[in-house]
């Protein structure tokens, strides 16, 4: 079953009295365990698609199925629970909670899920080890480098074992070496956990790592290439 299936999805915005057609009838489908990148220039609609796939925004027309559920028919509360249970996010600016330590940031999604304290501790410790930050558990985000913060963000997205991880320009704020390390980490996790990764990017390195590359321009799919 497809974890994400978009059928003739359109998204229009009102901007300064004009209607902006961000997506124009997009058809896309992502299966389990994919490692895909959506590439395109600024304003092409790649981030908009990611937001719609992550149930952060509502579609104008069409159908967006997430985990087999029609997101367009869900209430605000149901969408929040869907995001909590099925989707992990990695942001360009990491968006860690500055007042919490590394382990507390990572365990935050588990707190939302109501996981008991013992399990939270175990799962947090395991993922910290996987992302190579087990010696930095007590640090605050501001005491870490950009690459380390993005590792924390990845750990936070993965700790709840979501079906999909949506990463919006995850390497944009990182130097190429760190970006490569981060991508290597995500590839490894994709393989070990079987989690679907979907990136929006214009970083060629990300495109190189992706096993499926979707190019988007002016709100329409330009190409959809699965690498051998």
């Amino acid at each position: 079953m497809a974890v994400i299936k978009a059928e003739k999805v359109t998204k229009d915005y009102a901007l300064d009295g004009h209607v902006v057609h961000a997506l124009r009838g997009v058809d896309l489908e992502f299966g389990g365990g994919e490692f895909a990148a959506i590439a395109g220039p600024s304003g092409s609609g790649k981030s908009t698609f990611l937001h719609l796939a992550g149930c952060l925004d509502s579609i104008t027309s069409g159908v967006m199925m997430v985990g087999g559920i029609d997101a367009g028919r869900m209430t605000k509360q149901q969408l929040a629970l869907l995001r909590r249970d099925k989707i992990g996010f990695i942001f360009q600016a990491y968006n860690l909670i500055p007042v919490l330590s590394v382990e507390e940031n990572i365990s935050f999604p588990l707190t939302l899920l109501g996981v008991d304290k013992k399990e939270i501790k175990e799962r947090t410790a395991k993922i910290l080890k996987e992302v190579g930050l087990d010696d930095m558990a007590k640090r605050r985000p501001k005491e870490m480098s950009g690459g380390q913060q993005q590792r924390v963000a990845i750990a936070r997205a993965l700790v709840k074992k979501p079906a999909i991880i949506l990463a919006d320009e995850p390497t944009a704020n990182l130097d190429s070496t760190t970006g490569r390390e981060i991508l290597e980490l995500m590839v490894a996790l994709n393989k070990s956990e079987g989690t679907t990764f979907i990136f929006s990017t214009h970083d060629t390195m990300v495109m190189d790592y992706a096993r499926r590359l979707i190019r988007i321009r002016d709100g329409q799919i330009e190409s959809d290439e699965v690498k051998s």
Binding site: A80, I87, N95, P98, L113, R156
Partner: protein, 574 residues
């Protein structure tokens, strides 16, 4: 999410407090001050109210009064014509049922001294009975309380100062010298009197509102506060040897009495049609018609029969059964009252009732306007409750008398009598509480502002949290917890500060006598001496809890506004 889950979010809320420590501390401090002020003011005003009520009961009202119902209705006018006789049987009945009582005839008039005059409320009292019911007699500052059978009067400090009787307490230097010249019989006396006074402090600060010009001889002299009682008694004796304390009472009162003559028109129009059938023969037999005076003349001389006739006329509502008494009565001021209650200290005089019964006095002829009632052995601090209610006393009277009270008489509980004061008290205590509440409200606006800024500053973070699946409700709870913690910290310290400030006010109190003196004997409340606050545990804890909850609620609207923003807009917010 369960309550446990929500509580799991408290870590974020608590950590958020540390983001801007100065802002958190200042906002908590505002709550702390507000809570402390509220606790202090409430305790203070509560102390004022309780002390005032005790003073009313102990120095002015007692627990209840037996009066005519019409007197109670018109009590502001002090209608002396609404008096009654035969009160001794009510006193005896009450005594047998466990109550003390004290008769009074209250009337208004003027009191003249050698130096001036003052409008007064005179209380004709039985000194012995009065001392069993009220406590002001223990507060005769100078001299003593009048003795039964003598034309003596005790007046309040305000009246004494105005009439310049008794010991002057705050004379100008020239007035003191004049007083010494009139009082001292030799130089030793003069030196003794001077030794009792010291110059008053002259205020030069911006709070000096006095319009009196200071010049030589106009300086204020103050009677030494800790002057020995023996010295004051000696000074009083020196005064008593002069005519300084001689006064004259001028009053007009109306006493219910069988009229000597009833005009024919009154007889036919106002009396006969309203008399009961069984009373008509009694009245007709007591009067004889004399056409040369145009009316009916009283011929019955038996006082017992006259009492029955008067009772019949009162039952008939006959307004002519009144005797006007306009008397001048000479008396001597033998004491000055300075009690914790401003009423006895004001323009009030106390005279032995038995001296005023006949033509030499006010011709009271056994009538009284009220019988003050208090439970035997009632503790000073005890406010009258159910056992001293009007209903309980009425029932006790019925048992003691073996019959109900006459219709025209009623027992009135002190609270009924003081309804005007209690309304005033509510206003007096309400206004500062409103101010304290406004202060509290302002601090809550501060919390709201803090949360509003926090929400604005953390818009992107809020977007991220919502993207991760945090519901709007959870987001609101996090910020309400954060505001609640600010309120809680402020409340705890506010409760501690409020109690700390309150402690000396409860234990030592605040001596208001100087302020009360300068304001003419009262400060609005019925308290003139040391004011003590009271511990009000429900208010202390209640204000802390309410402040915490209100603080928490203040986060609701800013957060609700934040979660209405689309998540994508929040994530893009810079």
């Amino acid at each position: 999410m369960s309550l446990t889950g929500i509580w799991g979010l408290k870590k974020i809320a608590m950590r958020n407090l540390s983001r801007h420590k100065v802002k958190t501390v200042l906002t908590s401090a505002a709550v702390m001050v507000s809570v402390a002020v509220y606790i202090f003011l409430t305790s203070w005003l509560g102390g004022m109210a309780i002390e005032s009520r005790r003073n009313i009961v102990n120095y002015d009202m007692s627990a209840a009064k037996l009066q005519t119902a019409l007197y109670f209705e018109r009590s502001d006018e002090r209608p002396s014509y609404e008096n009654f006789r035969g009160w001794e049987r009510y006193r005896d009945a009450l005594y047998g049922e466990g109550f003390n009582s004290a008769p009074r005839f209250v009337f208004a008039g003027m009191l003249f001294s050698n130096s001036g005059s003052a409008p007064m409320i005179f209380n004709a009292v039985d000194p012995v009975a009065e001392a069993r019911v009220l406590h002001y007699i223990d507060y005769v500052d100078f001299g003593r309380f009048p003795e039964s059978g003598k034309f003596e009067i005790a007046v309040g400090t305000t009246a004494a100062e105005k009439l310049r009787v008794g010991i002057p307490t705050r004379p100008r230097r020239l007035e003191l010298e004049e007083f010494i010249a009139n009082t001292a019989q030799n130089e030793t006396d003069a030196a003794f009197i001077r030794s009792l006074y010291e110059p008053g402090k002259t205020s030069t600060g911006f709070l000096n509102f006095s319009t009196e010009r200071e010049f030589a001889g106009n300086e204020r002299m103050i009677l030494t506060r800790n002057a020995p009682r023996a010295d004051l008694d000696r000074l009083w004796e020196l005064i008593a040897a002069t005519d300084r304390n001689n006064v004259r009472i001028n009053a007009v009162i109306d006493i219910k009495a069988v009229p000597e003559i009833i005009r024919i028109g009154q007889w036919n129009g106002e009396l006969m049609p309203y008399l009961r059938e069984e009373d008509k023969a009694l009245v007709e037999a007591a009067y004889t018609r004399e056409d040369f005076v145009g009316g009916y003349l009283l011929v019955e001389e038996d006082e017992a029969v006259q009492e029955k006739i008067l009772a019949a006329m009162i039952r008939a509502g006959f307004r002519g059964a009144v005797r006007h008494v306009n008397q001048l009565v000479d008396a001597v001021v033998v004491g000055v009252i300075n009690s914790p209650d401003p009423v006895p200290n004001g323009n009030t005089g106390y005279i032995p009732m038995d001296a005023l019964q006949d033509e030499a006095g006010m011709m009271l002829d056994g009538a009284i306007t009220e019988l003050l009632i208090r439970k035997k052995g009632a503790a000073y601090a005890e406010l009258p409750g159910e056992t001293e209610s009007a209903a309980a006393i009425t029932a006790a009277l019925k048992r003691g008398l073996g019959e109900p009270l006459p219709e025209y008489l009623g027992v009135f509980f002190w609270l009924e009598y003081m309804s005007d004061y209690l309304g005033y008290e509510a206003m007096q205590t309400g206004a500062p509480q409103v101010i304290a509440f406004l202060l509290l409200f302002l601090s809550f606006l501060g919390i709201s502002n803090t949360i509003l800024l926090a929400v604005l500053e953390r818009t992107k973070e809020i977007g991220m949290m919502r993207a991760m699946g945090m519901t709007d409700r959870q987001m609101i709870v996090v910020y309400m917890l954060e505001a609640g913690f600010i309120g809680f910290i402020g409340s705890v310290f506010g409760m501690i500060l409020g109690c700390a400030v309150n402690y000396p006010m409860v234990v030592y109190g605040w001596d208001l006598s100087a302020m009360a003196d300068s304001l003419g004997g009262g400060i609005g409340f019925r308290v003139t001496t040391v004011l003590r606050s009271v511990w009000n545990v429900p208010v202390i804890f209640g204000s802390g809890i309410v402040a915490t909850l209100l603080a928490s609620c203040m986060a609701y609207f800013p957060t609700r506004r934040a979660v209405k923003m689309p998540i994508t807009d929040s994530l893009r917010f810079e």
